[in-house]
Amino acid sequence: MRHALPGLVVGTLFGAGLALSGMTNPARVLGFLDIGGRWDPTLAFVLAAALVPSALAYLLVRRMERPVMAEEFCIPQNRTVEARLLAGGALFGIGWGLVGLCPGPALAGLAFGVWQSWAFVAAMVAGMWLQRLYADLRDHRPVHFTG
């Protein structure tokens, strides 16, 4: 409950924010990425507004010993920019540009009953699993199955 409750509250707020912001509409996201056409700056407003409370929380955290409902902060400390990170970002960006959906809006958008969202999410989960399979085979680990 200590983990699930904040997860549910935050996920719900996050999903509501995505739906309210217009980011669950792929046409709008593609409009933002289309700098050569009729550029739609909406996503920039969303990101700018989101960064304010998010950054404030990081400033607050510096004065805190531990989180309110957990033992310790788990904030990534790695600062190395490696090829894997850039390759992953680029592959994600191509997929994002093809459809106009990234993971948050795709999952939140399942609420709207558009079948295309379900097809996209199914493929996205398959892609996540394939990456895991690829990493397991590359590192000679036993192949991991979901569940």
Partner: protein, 144 residues
Amino acid sequence: MLTSATILSALLGGLLIGSAAGLLLLLSGRIAGVSGMAAAALRIADKGPPWSQAAAFTIGLPIGAAVVLAIVGRPEVTITSSVPLLVAGGLLVGFGTRLGNGCTSGHGVCGLARLSPRSLAATAAFMGAGIATVFVARHILGAG
């Protein structure tokens, strides 16, 4: 079209998204990255948040959208992609976000807010690739 109502809901939605991310950090000490949460919820990831938190967060996303649907009304959703494009896009987004350890939320909203050089580089990579993809699709191949 960009109207003042669109900008207002974009700003309000953005504030909600950022507040949600900030709240998870303060309460649980974790990054609200959707791809990481979804992977942990599906037990695809080894590291990351406790399963119960990841699952609750992931289920919360469509619940939150449903709340907006009930209170504000149905937001416009236009998906014109064909099935092969939806599948290719989904596979690339799933594979890429796991390879690059994050997506628009984890690297974009959370990473940029704490000035992480990795997140800055990842955000530049996916924004750049997204812009290039749309440019090729719309202005070179003439689709959409």
